[in-house]
């Protein structure tokens, strides 16, 4: 038991270094404050203990002291706040060219789907030294995707996408925890993050998969008949979806929104919520007709026709075998 007794978590991502630096700074600052307060208390308690004939000296207070010990902590707090905000900004802002993995959480397992088509359960293989972005949603209750060695965590909600990202710096096997209480087997909703050297990762990718996610999305798109209205030539009853993703969209009610994952998702499930300017409200809802995985595929397809990335598509076009979920 004692041989395996860590006091500090492994640092395995770029974010871990940033978080630990701020944590160490805070340990030093709060350690100094605590030491100052405790030394004063212990010294005063010993030095001014009751002695017969020595009355307490009444002191009303001191405005300069009050101002000092209000202002100095506040200034220190501002530094901590600003540093914390900078780290948080990085945590919440995924690089635009990150490799994408779709995550579907359910009681009590993690389903992970790579853009290249590999599917995994409670295990995620990623390459070292590359930005990876997780696009996550839940089929039931709120979960939270937590990798302590990367110092990242993000709640996973039903009915919308949330996003987190990381850049692994060290090959190894790390913890994946569900951090938001989700029912009976909450503590069983754990898994492994397997960080591989690039060459090993390429080998892993090529060992399985069912074709890129965007390709299954394209198939869905055809099966559901989306193309009858969303024509690529712009002459359909619905807007042309080519070049849509990541760009601003003018809405009928005058607002302008950016077409991100959540916009595409909402437009499939609740087409009237953010209707594009100039189009009639004729699209039916697909709520109940597509599950979370199929939605992810559709989103991936719509992304792929906006910003073609031939390199990624080519890499993912590998023969299907092993590692498959269904």
């Amino acid at each position: 038991m004692l041989n395996n007794f860590p006091l500090w978590p492994v640092q395995a991502s770029t974010m871990a270094q940033h978080v630990d630096a701020l944590y160490i700074f805070l340990l030093i600052v709060t350690g100094m404050v605590a030491a100052l307060v405790f030394v004063c208390i212990i010294y005063f308690a010993a030095r001014y203990r009751h002695q017969p004939g020595v009355p307490a000296e009444q002191i009303e207070g001191s405005l300069p002291l009050e101002i000092t010990w209000s202002a100095i902590p506040f200034l220190v707090f501002l530094v901590i706040f600003a540093w914390g905000a900078v780290v948080y900004f990085q945590e919440r802002t995924p690089p635009s060219d990150a490799t994408e993995v779709y995550v579907v959480a359910k009681q009590w397992m993690w389903k992970l789907e790579h853009a290249e088509g590999q599917r995994e359960i409670n295990e995620l293989h990623v390459p070292v030294g590359r930005d990876v972005k997780l696009i996550m949603t839940s089929q039931d209750v709120i979960h939270s995707f937590f990798i302590p060695e990367f110092r990242i965590k993000q709640d996973v909600l039903p009915g919308r996408y949330t996003v987190e990202w990381f850049h692994a710096t060290k090959p190894g096997v790390y913890h994946l925890f569900c951090a938001e209480y989700c029912g009976t087997q909450h503590s069983g909703m754990v898994g492994d993050i397997v960080v591989l050297e690039p060459a090993q990762y390429e080998a892993w990718v090529n060992s399985g998969g069912s074709g890129p996610l965007s390709a299954s999305g394209e198939k869905m798109f055809a099966e559901l008949g989306c193309g009858t209205c969303h024509k690529m030539d712009g002459q359909g009853r619905g807007p042309n979806l080519q070049g849509l993703f990541g760009n601003p969209v003018q809405l009928e009610d005058g607002r302008t929104v950016t077409a991100d994952e959540n916009y595409v998702r909402e437009s499939i499930l609740d087409p009237g919520a953010k209707r594009v300017k100039g189009f009639a409200p004729v699209m039916p809802t697909f709520q109940g007709l597509v599950n979370e995985e199929q939605l992810n595929a559709l989103v991936a397809y719509i992304k792929s026709i906006s910003a073609p990335q031939p390199a990624r598509a080519a890499r993912a076009a590998a023969p299907a075998k092993g590692n498959q979920v269904n």
Partner: protein, 549 residues
């Protein structure tokens, strides 16, 4: 209660004025209601404590081998619900506040004595429903009962627990209302706002939170119930609702609720430090207004519980900044308490030991709050044992230490008896050691990444050593909490009779008999002195009077 060996002739007190069950159950005397609350919250404290011990025993080994997973989930849920709503929130206000607020003001009773009794009955009804819920199956939603798990997925008795919390909330609102009116309207002649004990300022700030915050929790529970029953789409995304909205509403009450727990404790500690340093509190005005500042700013920081919940980047930044703002008045208090010790004449009686314990634990709890308010760090440590350790340092290390300190300080006034000092000092030491051993390892566990509410950690056995330390500490802490209950009960029969003012303390409550008569004072006091006039109390002609017994 007849006192056989009382030194003076039998005197009428609030305890012996009437006898019989109905004289208690129908009393409107704030002091008797305080004792009713004392018995009730002690009962719930030991139930909540039992759940805590079972949680710690389960975590002794990584595998889930003591109870079933569902049982474990009910244990931590009910531990939280019982401790928060049925012990911590009523603890100091409903017991010590009820007993002392009118006496410190020189009043005969609270402004609305019958409403005060009603608040206890509401507490008992809520408590009975909670107990029924626990005994007939229990609830497993976590005390935070996040939707959609609580509204659509759990098949345990969430509705019943919600009703219990809804009802007990009104008990808290009524207590707050009573205090606000009493403090405004019933101060003795000469008792200006600047002469009030800081215990009163703390309770005034607490009452404002109870009045303004608790209804929001009640509304939230009604909305969850309405969604379950009528399928209104409020929180459930399948009905077009937003689960994050629930968290906003929940924390809008539940963050200020932390200040309902800690502010009264700060008030208690202020009284104790002044008395046992024989000094006026350093920076009276700053300590008083920092209580109000905490109550006001406390309402503006709720979303710092939600930095990874899916709120926007910029709202997180605003709430982080405001969270640092609320830390400043807490820091001011700690510095002023420390400065009060300077050039004091410090006595080490048990209440002061608890106050020292409070200072140490609250300081650690407050400083670790700075980690959680830092956005970048919060992402890593939220929902881990780091948070568990942090809020136990505040709510147990802070609030319960203050509560126990106050119980010892005012026990002679409440019971008319002295508690055994040696045992009390020993208990204070045991609580302090047991508490730190229980909760300090959890900070390390949390930064290592152990998530909260995990029943089984066999996937990460490397966390066992710290969990064993924590469990060992919890048994020591349990002994520390049992001891005062035993010797307080013992002292009611065998303790030495207390004089009216055994600590030679300032404050109107010490100027009447121990235990006090039903209407507190023989004649209405007139205040001509400032608060904490320990220089006058310790003036040379009083020099040889022993301070404690």
């Amino acid at each position: 209660m007849p006192i056989a060996d009382a030194p003076q002739v039998e005197r009428e007190t609030y305890l012996n004025k009437e006898y019989g069950v109905w004289s208690w159950l129908l009393t409107t005397d704030h002091k008797r209601i305080a004792l009713l609350y004392l018995i009730s919250i002690t009962f719930f404290f030991f139930i909540g404590g039992l759940f805590a011990l079972l949680i710690r025993l389960e975590l002794l080994t990584p595998a889930g081998d003591l109870v079933q997973a569902d049982t474990y989930n009910k244990l931590f849920t009910q531990h939280g619900m019982v401790m928060v709503f049925f012990f911590l929130i009523p603890s100091i206000p409903a017991v010590l506040g009820n007993f002392l607020v009118p006496m410190m003001l020189g009043a005969k009773d609270l402004a609305f004595p019958r409403v005060n009794l009603l608040s206890w009955y509401l507490y008992i009804i809520g408590g009975a429903i909670m107990l029924h819920c626990i005994l007939t199956g229990g609830v497993d939603t976590g005390w935070t009962f996040y939707v959609p798990f609580s509204s659509n997925f759990t098949n345990t008795k969430f509705v019943e627990a919600g009703i219990a919390i809804f009802i007990v909330g009104f008990s808290s609102i009524l207590t707050g209302l009573n205090f606000v009116v009493t403090i405004h309207r019933m101060r003795a002649p000469g008792l200006t706002w600047s002469r009030l004990p800081l215990f009163i300022w703390a309770h005034y700030a607490t009452s404002i939170i109870q009045l303004l915050g608790t209804p929001v929790l009640a509304i939230t529970i009604v909305m969850v119930a309405a969604e379950r029953a009528l399928h209104l789409g409020i929180f459930d995304p399948r009905l077009g609702g937003d689960p994050v909205l629930f968290q906003h509403l929940f924390w809008f009450y539940s963050h200020p609720a932390v200040y309902i727990m800690i502010l009264p404790s700060m008030g208690v500690v202020t009284e104790i430090i002044a008395c046992f340093s024989r000094k006026r509190i350093f920076g009276y005005g700053f300590v008083a207004f920092s209580s109000i500042a905490i109550a006001v700013f406390g309402f503006l920081v709720w979303a710092h519980h939600m930095f990874v919940a899916g709120t926007s980047l910029y709202s997180a930044m605003v709430f982080s900044l405001l969270s640092y703002a609320v830390a400043v008045p807490s820091a001011i208090k700690v510095f002023n308490w420390t400065a009060t010790l300077y050039k004091g004449s410090i006595h080490y009686d048990a209440p002061m030991l608890y106050a020292f314990g409070f200072l140490g634990l609250f300081t650690i709890g407050g400083l670790t709050g700075l980690f959680l308010a830092a956005l970048g760090i919060d992402v890593h440590v939220t929902d881990t044992y780091f948070v568990v350790a942090h809020f136990h340092y505040i709510m147990v290390g802070g609030a319960v230490m203050g509560y126990l300190g106050g119980m010892h300080f005012w026990w002679p006034k409440i019971s008319g008896r002295l508690y055994p000092e040696g045992w009390a000092r020993l208990a204070a030491l045991i609580v302090f050691i047991g508490f730190n051993l229980t909760f300090f390892p959890q900070f390390i566990l949390g930064y290592l990444g152990m998530p909260r509410r995990y029943y089984d950690y066999s996937h990460m056995p490397e966390f066992q050593v710290l969990n064993v330390l924590s469990t060992a500490g919890s048994t020591i802490l349990g002994v520390g909490y049992l001891l005062p209950m035993v010797y307080f009960l013992w002292s009611m029969r065998y303790g030495k009779p207390a004089s009216d003012n055994p600590w030679n303390a300032a404050g109107l409550e010490w100027k009447t008999a121990s235990p006090p008569p039903t209407f507190n004072f023989e004649e209405e006091p007139v205040v001509t002195w400032e608060a904490y006039n320990y220089d006058e109390l310790d003036a040379p002609h009083r020099e040889e009077v022993p301070v404690a017994r």
